[in-house]
Symmetry: C2
Subunit: 372 residues, 2 copies
């Protein structure tokens, strides 16, 4: 029975276990084997492990101080299987990055500075660079806070999460077609699109092109999903994310609609007034309406809204400091595009929250290098 220190931290609307890279190496077992056993990934209920048996509660990050210039902490994000003995290492997770930042200030991976401490992070899965800024009044790391995020009523330590120079990660440029506005052909004919690559590749449309106003309930928005699914394929081809003969991806690019802010009710029934947010957005997650918005999609929207000529720029309320309050089904998520000084694309900041739930010593059933 191996022993492994870890911390269970809520980052935004995800629950992540964070492990120190050196502790993982010290076990003498590869990370896949260790996580599969610790989470009981083989079991659909993860009954013999620390996993929560759902996609948002079967996550881990393995962190260490970084030797890269300008990076304090690098982390590998792991999506651990549920009833499936596989660990996915191909993506980043903004919620887990929030948790990593809180872990870093609590575990001496960065020097704590007066007032606030910024953790500069490198996601080794994707090469993305992020920052997490946490209030550290009196140079002490906080255990609690009163910051909330849409999707949970729980409160936590405020974490200002920054996606540094997020444009072009996948395709090399913020506007993969070189244009702020394209025309794609959907099931009902030609439709204007803005094709963006920042945080993640995304294809954005105006809600009114689908007879919507961008404040629909999840059920109402579901009617537009088939058309947006067809347009996702057209966008993938236009952005050179896929070739004509390749299988259709339901994950890439992200697709959704934008509109001017008008009053609407969140999924939980809260009334949101037009002046409480700057851009209405309804995104698709795979085959269904997204209950809120993925953080990488929020980055794409904030980037698009800062680029004149895009549909997001056309309908978003422009603010002096680049703040963009996104009206999502779950509530308002605030992003801010901060112009870079070096000609890079704007850094996108998101107001998130994290809370350390537990510090633990895990007993991991590994036998002969395999999950027991």
């Amino acid at each position: 029975m191996l022993r492994l220190q870890g911390e269970m931290i809520r980052g935004g609307t995800s629950k992540c276990w964070i492990f120190d890279h050196h502790d993982v190496v010290a076990t003498g077992v590869d990370a896949d084997t260790l996580l599969l056993a610790a989470y009981n990934a083989a079991d659909p209920r993860q009954i013999d492990g620390v996993g929560g048996a759902s996609s948002t509660t079967s996550k881990a990050a393995i962190v260490q101080a970084s030797a890269e210039p300008g990076v304090d902490v690098e982390y590998a994000f792991a999506q651990v299987g549920i009833g499936d003995e596989r660990v996915e290492w191909t993506s980043n997770c903004g919620n887990c990055a929030t948790a990593v930042a809180l872990y870093a200030v609590h575990n001496g991976l960065v020097p704590i500075t007066p007032d606030t401490t910024t953790v500069r992070m490198l996601n080794v899965n994707t090469g993305a660079r992020l920052t997490g800024t946490i209030p550290t009044p009196g140079s002490t790391a906080p255990h609690e806070g009163t910051a909330g995020v849409p999707g949970t009523a729980a409160l936590g330590v405020p974490v200002l999460l920054g996606f540094e120079d997020p444009a072009g990660t996948t395709t090399g440029r913020a506007l993969p077609t070189g244009r702020a506005l394209d025309t794609l052909t959907g099931p009902a004919g030609p439709v204007e699109a803005s094709l963006i690559d920042a945080g993640a590749p995304a294809a954005l449309f105006e809600a009114k092109a689908f007879g919507l106003d961008g404040t629909e309930s999840l059920t109402e928005f579901a009617a537009a999903v088939p058309a947006l699914t067809a347009l996702r394929r057209e966008a993938a081809l236009a952005m050179s994310l896929a070739d004509q003969g390749e299988p259709v991806s339901h994950a890439v690019p992200k697709v959704g609609v934008v509109a001017r802010s008008v009053s609407y009710h969140t999924t939980h029934g809260t009334l949101v007034a037009p002046d409480e947010y700057d851009l209405a957005v309804r995104m698709v997650s795979m085959h269904a309406p997204h209950p809120a918005i993925g953080l990488t999609s929020a980055v794409a929207l904030a980037t698009a809204a800062a680029i004149p000529g895009t549909l997001a720029h056309r309908v978003a309320r422009q603010t002096a400091d680049g703040t963009l309050r996104l009206g999502t089904p779950a509530g308002v998520i605030t992003a801010q595009a901060v112009p870079a000084t070096n000609g890079a694309c704007p850094t996108v900041l998101l107001h998130r929250a994290a809370r350390r739930i537990a510090r633990a010593e895990l007993l991991v059933p590994v036998l002969e290098g395999r999950p027991a």
Copy 2:
């Protein structure tokens, strides 16, 4: 932010957090408030807490050394709400008792003896007395073992769980009607029944009375659930568990069918030969077939099979030492009825397994005596 030590332990097919009563008292907060906050019970996903957001992973036990004669450890079992800020303290949980026994040998709540250590437990919710016997070779508490239980492929420390004098807990006697065999009227007319109160009140029928052989798949057995639901009400009245004017309970008594052992396939496709078990059983859980069998139902069956004249005794293979291997949809669960020397009903032993998953310090968001 309160701090609270706890251990996450798998007991059988449940995941329980175990807390020391003195640690709970030391927080200065009542147990309900503490558990609701620690588990984030308010959230249907329990995203800000240690709960697993399912009935089998949202359980806790609060334990302490006992001053009762013949009792080492007493524990209160808590079923913590999921999207529901309530803690239920009304029932016992055999799987959590298994976890409590392992916790007790690891935390000095009982003296460890050579070869095996027996933990004598009192469930303060119901007054039930249980024992957990754990191998302790060389007087050391084990961290791992190779014992399995149907319902999970995970292995753990073997725990022989004993329900002491389990008869009559609810009604005062093992045979509430005074008879080993009754006749109840179901939707298709009169049907033989054995009405037992041991572990839990249970009404047992012969499978063939419903055109079954007791080895049906969950889907096949579902066809008999409506008739058994109607008979549950008749049994409740006959056992004086309910009065004619009272609302119908779908939980009490347990209902199910028994039959002679014949070969069958488990839900996972494993072939079980007739000589691999002693009694075929299919139980109902609320409105659906139970995927295996509840431990308290297993106690009722083992008790019934030891009483001449009951339907369980009629069809069960009798063994010299009272061992009864129950053929359930999930696989074979072994119970043993051990005659008591003092005239009490037989103690029922079940072969279970437990594994300590993690030792943790929980950070519990309680503000002013309420979950934050």
